[in-house]
């Protein structure tokens, strides 16, 4: 009798264990769970972490970064890397701004190479007009895709190493951005444009003023995420992207237009960088030649933490989101703790390590269960 009891209890325990391991550790949403757990536990110490204002901050920080990471993911999937996203942000930011600004200070811009040609005191070509914002945004996205495609061509056709190609275009375009603005920031952007990054849908009152709930940037990011998911999961291009990333030669033999696929990946990355640039620029209310100089490692870091492989062939939009969530949450929680600014960096490093370690442990378990390649090949 007793024994049977103990047995059943044991089995129950085993079941529980199975559930925990299966549902939490092995699901590819692990990073999500990790972030949530992290959030909840910290919440106990820091009630403010859950305050409406902070949540709205979190969300307005998440979306632009997510946009960038999704772009980066496309390139990582085909086994490349795009370091030029930062400079694409910068150049699109200034170009777009110059296009739609409604007034420039001759003091600052008279020495600009484009002065009098395209831009003047009355602003850029689309300056002042009602369609300024849409035109400007379209312009930015177009440039982004163009630069991306250029990177892609260099990688695919000229067979140059992605790291160097994108590193060089990082130097080049950030230099160009500073060059065409003579390192001035471009202001007087149309309100419609500023609204994207600065206004929210629905506001909740708080102690001091009210805070927005859903920033417009959310919808941009959402749309992009859905589109990206659709392409990767439902379209032929998506299948091709993974195929190229897993084994380029096999893909070529199987009639996959490898070069075109790679160019697409980089173009998407450029596009996303431009979109991110739209969100960031409008949030800061100016076109900035130095936009996003330091965001690169956050982008790639978030992607990798999210589980997207640097060696190609693996990546999901969901993972990108988890990675971003983790990074943003980490950052803001560390600020919330009011650590000294240097402690913030140290803790950040440690947390990233721990997160990665947990991920490793979980992969061990998974390997422990699924037969490995060598095993069955026997």
């Amino acid at each position: 009798m007793q024994s049977s009891d103990s047995v059943t209890s044991q089995t129950r325990l085993a079941c529980l264990r199975e559930v925990v391991i299966g549902r939490v550790l092995l699901s590819d949403s692990f990073v999500l769970f990790l972030s949530v757990a992290y959030f909840l536990v910290l919440w106990i110490f820091l009630p403010r972490l859950g305050s409406a204002r902070n949540l709205s901050n979190l969300s307005s920080n998440i979306w632009p970064l997510l946009v960038l990471v999704i772009g980066q993911m496309f390139v990582l999937i085909v086994g490349g890397i795009d370091l030029s996203q930062t400079s694409v942000m910068a150049i699109t930011s200034v170009c777009g701004a110059l296009m739609m600004t409604s007034g420039l200070d001759p003091e600052l811009f008279a020495r600009n190479p484009l002065w009098g040609v395209l831009i003047g005191e009355q602003g850029g070509p689309a300056g002042g007009s009602a369609a300024a914002a849409p035109v400007g945004i379209a312009f930015m996205l177009a440039i982004g895709m163009l630069i991306g495609s250029a990177n892609g061509l260099a990688v695919a056709r000229l067979k140059m190493p992605p790291f160097m190609v994108t590193l060089v275009s990082m130097f080049f375009f950030s230099g160009l951005a500073i060059f065409i603005t003579r390192s001035e920031n471009v202001r007087n952007l149309p309100d419609a444009f500023l609204a994207i990054g600065q206004s929210y849908l629905g506001r909740v009152p708080t102690g001091r003023g009210s805070v927005g709930l859903v920033p417009y940037s959310f919808f941009a990011a959402l749309a992009l995420a859905v589109a990206a998911w659709f392409v990767l999961a439902r379209t032929i291009l998506g299948r091709w992207l993974y195929a190229v990333g897993m084994n380029r030669r096999a893909a070529t033999v199987s009639g996959v237009p490898t070069d075109r696929v790679i160019v697409w990946a980089y173009a998407v990355s450029g596009f996303c960088a431009a979109l991110g640039s739209v969100l960031y620029s409008s949030r800061l209310g100016a076109g900035r030649p130095t936009l996003g100089e330091n965001v690169l490692l956050d982008v790639i870091g978030a992607a990798v933490i999210g589980g997207i492989s640097l060696f190609g062939g693996k990546g999901k939009v969901r993972w990108a989101f988890y990675g971003v969530l983790f990074f943003v949450l980490l950052d803001s929680s560390l600020y919330m703790l009011n650590l000294k600014f240097y402690t913030v960096n140290i803790v950040k490093g440690v947390v990233i390590l721990v997160a990665a370690l947990l991920d490793v442990l979980r992969n061990r378990i998974r390997l422990g269960r699924a037969p490995t390649g060598r095993a069955v090949a026997a």
């Binding site: 264990r17 990790l34 901050n57 500073i178 390192s183 202001r187 003023g209 100016a286 900035r288 240097y342």
Partner: protein
Amino acid sequence: MNMKTLLLTVALLGALDVVVGGLSCSRRVPIEDQLTICFGFQDLETEFWVAGHKAITETLRAKGIRVLERNANQDANRQLEQIRDAIAQEVNGIIIIPQDGESAVTIVGEANRAGIPIAVFNRPPSDRSNPALVIVADNEKIADEAVAYMAKVAREKGEGRKWKPLIVVGDLGDRNAVARRKGFFNVMERNPDLFETPIEVPSKWDPATTLANLEAALQANPDVDFLFTSSDFLYPQIKAVLEPLGKWKKIDEPGHVILGGLDGDSTAYKLMKEGYVDATGVQDLFFEANTIMEALLAAIEAGEKMPEKWMDDPGFALTQENMAERADEMWGYRVLHDE
């Protein structure tokens, strides 16, 4: 093995949170009515910023005020996010050293919306659309003054001969750097007879870059005899380049390169005292710090939500001439003497 790993996982997660949580506990404040002020700065690359940071944080803490420090690492976006976080914590006031004028406008806007008084230190918002307390030093003007003095010296020394000027330019992404460059060129344009076309050396505010580029520049133009650095914190590198070339000479010695810079830090002071440097443009750091703090605290006292006031730091050029009487107005001098 599964169970073990699982446990390990949980343990790690727990440990992590305890660590972080612990940190947070230790930072909790007992008294709630205590004033909290957020001080966000864009980085601490140069002695100027370090001293400013020190002055502000210490004065405030001395007043029993709780200071939240935020380092944005020269990233305007991160700074915006940090200030928002601070606002979320419902601080009583904010002091920022913005990355640049435009982001300043936006950040001030955020603070206004939350009804928290905000003060902008040393880099003005690019327009007055959003009310704030602002203290600025006119970099262009100060640079102009300093270089003007150097030009004067040159004119007296050089018997009508032309001088070969060189300017170490800051990071072109930084508006102050651009302003200082402008100040320098203003003087050049005023004295076309005195100067050949200046040689520009990019420093990107990075000592290593400065060293490399300066060396290359002097290799190409060994006859440089008039040198202005956009920031005093680059003097060590300048010395490292000039010395081997036998150009690191005191003012009265032959072969002296007319030297000048901007900031007014302790190195600059020492070098002037020793007689290597002719002039340095000084922003009155401590004046700026104190004025801004008092203004902000006053505003908080008065319960103003969005105070507006633009204050000027005239700044001045400390030269070998006026050194005797004005040295003690130079913050670098005081930093030196506090230690």
